[in-house]
Symmetry: none
């Protein structure tokens, strides 16, 4: 079966916003064997939106609309889908009570306009939204399926997974699709391609797609079959060949983030870490602690922008700062050793560098970062030069820091 | 005039890639007064692509296609646009020589398939592409303009700016567009709507769009006029009215992020800040330091997950932790005062809470966060309950923290 996604909202037709919900929906649909054949973005405008839905009803089998279910006057999806289907809208009284209760729980009075969100297209099934006031709607019309989803990802994703996927599975002919994602760091996109192209181009199933993001390459494998075993076999044949030629650069074969992988390595080794960050300003601590359960291995972090903080909180000697400068291998080392000592952790990580856009010199340009890892009786220091802007430099530095930690821990696991 | 953008390529219908070229084109088009009213993504499939172009010719005045101009068999844009227009394709012999020269300059022989890229729709103007082999095409048909652009951004952007914009300017009636964006926090979307709807619905110019993101509402105003003054006047009339009813909730009228606004407030007041974060794990420090120049006011941060770090590094008394628990108003206060003292900063911010998914109890549920700001001879503590998942809770807590700081500083500026 094929599907069409309609993202609704005038803000999606400005230079400011782009639809990303459709990527999530496409992934979920592909998994049950549904192809997405059109994506349309249309504004909060009655005539165009109604015409877009009518057209989709003619050319696609499953139609998913995103957004436009809010309480305000420019939220028109309910009205326009009802018009395209020629069905009336009716208030669903059963929705009013729970909606009022949501507001009460937060100590608020429900504004009158929220009642718009209790309007339901005749014949539609209401899909409860645990994370917001706008319920989703599921409508079937002459063999076609129309699904109305709220726009905020934290509402849309669980609603689709729990409310729509089980229903869709019952209606879509079974094709089993299996995917695997290898993630690696430390190789360029073209170096990765050179290593793996001779292998993956021999296979039509799985389909291989390479995607480069900042400090990370993802290799997506997607295979098809009549049943689980037939879909799984091509993956199990190709994936180990790719892993072999990519070696230690591969940090996950299960779509894990680098911070999850590093965290799991720490857990398995019963090790702990503490971090001292200058140029990354807390991003490394934030990534480590974004993983639930990280309190088991993350002991603490210090963001040490100023020299005073480096000296007073982390015992970086004034002479080291004076002789080498704040951005130096020696200071990175002192930060790593200082935080390790203060936190009494297995490992201490220190980062100092120039994230820009200002502060660079010909000797120490923007993008120069020193990363140090103290632990196991020694401290290793790495010098890196990252391309890009402030945000990109900070991200890549934390990616390297986590990778250095992961590699050391994996070495210890051998 | 209005425009429709058609992004072409099967890879744009996978979960891995999204069209971002349209954001650049939208910005450029908006600047000369052209509105984008539809965006469509369609795959490399002849029937669907031809139908999409035909439809666009019926409903839009300017049609821009992106991609599908490459040399391979799945690059179908030239053929499909020709079919939709009912015009033939002819080889433009003048294009062959320069294309061969491009390859020769790189020491390569031109592959036969590249000759596809010398095919031109009858009556089209060829738009030279300095950064690739695929030229763009410009076609006029019954008052409509159809522009074919190559997909790679480093080819598309200069080709559009130099080849298309000057031509479009001659054909588009001069309209000047001005935009303003108000950002606010502390009100729900519907509460915002209730306050401002009576005002903005009275105006057709500017057009008002409300956009809710996590912990933040954005109000986009877009106004039109024959010249700068005429476009500016409606903005200057409506915006102050909105600002007045929204009051202190508005933190920016210039599209600034909350961290930029808080940082600028600190700068203006010659004040400094240091932060002690438990549940936000470094996110607040990271946001504050993501602003270039933040070293002028951000003195340092501590990520204090464990009670040991709270006591040893920030002098939180053991009795306070024992009596009230780590997630409590008293501990938030002690963190704020502790970090302020340690960093010798004007302000100290302390955050402690339960980000989940585990660790919640009926008394202290997931989402409960205490925020404390020490400074100016007092410490204020706020208790908040945020909805959503770990990441959402952490984000909202840092948004509140920055907002509390901003409000105090703005109060001092009075």
């Amino acid at each position: 079966m094929n599907a069409e996604i309609i993202a609704i909202g005038s803000e999606l037709l400005t230079p400011l916003r782009t639809d990303t919900n459709s990527l999530f929906l496409t992934e979920q649909l592909n998994r049950i064997g549904v192809d997405v054949v059109f994506k349309t973005v249309v504004g909060d405008e009655k005539t165009r939106l109604t015409a877009t839905v009518s057209l989709a009803l003619q050319r696609s089998e499953i139609i998913l609309t995103i957004g436009g279910l809010g309480p305000t006057g420019d939220d028109l999806t309910r009205e326009c889908v009802a018009a395209a289907l020629g069905r009336p809208l009716r208030r669903d009284e059963a929705l009013v009570g729970p909606m009022e209760a949501r507001f009460r729980a937060r100590g608020l009075r429900m504004p009158e306009i929220n009642l718009r969100q209790t309007m339901v297209i005749e014949g539609a099934t209401v899909l409860p939204n645990r994370n917001g006031t706008a319920p989703g709607l599921w409508i079937e019309e002459q063999g076609k399926i129309i699904i109305l989803l709220p726009g905020p990802p934290r509402e849309l994703c669980p609603l689709f997974e729990h409310g729509c996927l089980p229903r869709l599975r019952e209606r879509v002919p079974p094709t089993v699709i299996r995917t695997r994602e290898l993630r690696l760091t430390g190789l360029t996109e073209s170096a990765t391609e050179e290593r793996i192209a001779p292998l993956y181009t021999r296979y039509k199933n799985p389909v291989t797609t390479i995607l480069a993001t900042l400090g990370e390459i993802q290799i997506h494998l997607k295979s098809f079959g009549k049943d689980e075993a037939e879909a799984q076999a091509p993956l199990d044949e190709l994936s180990p060949q790719l892993e072999k030629v990519l070696g230690k650069h591969v940090f996950s074969t299960r779509s894990e983030s680098m911070e999850e992988v590093a965290g799991n390595c720490l857990l398995r080794n019963k090790a702990t870490v503490a971090v001292a960050e200058s140029c990354t300003g807390g991003l490394l601590a934030q990534r480590l602690t974004s993983v639930s359960g990280s309190s088991a291995y993350f002991l603490g972090g210090v963001v040490c922008y100023s020299n005073a903080v480096k000296m007073d909180w982390l015992d970086v000697p004034a002479e080291v700062l004076g002789t080498h400068g704040a951005v130096s291998a020696a200071v990175a080392q002192a930060l790593a050793e200082g935080i390790r000592q203060r936190a009494k952790s297995t490992f201490g990580m220190g980062i100092t560098g120039i994230a820009g856009p200002t502060g660079g010199t010909s000797e120490k340009p923007v993008g120069l970062v020193y990363l140090a890892l103290a632990g196991g009786g020694q401290t290793q220091v790495h010098e890196r030069r990252y391309p890009g802007e402030r945000k990109a430099i900070r991200w890549q530095a934390t990616q390297s820091a986590l990778d250095i930690l992961r590699r050391v821990l994996m070495e210890e696991e051998r």
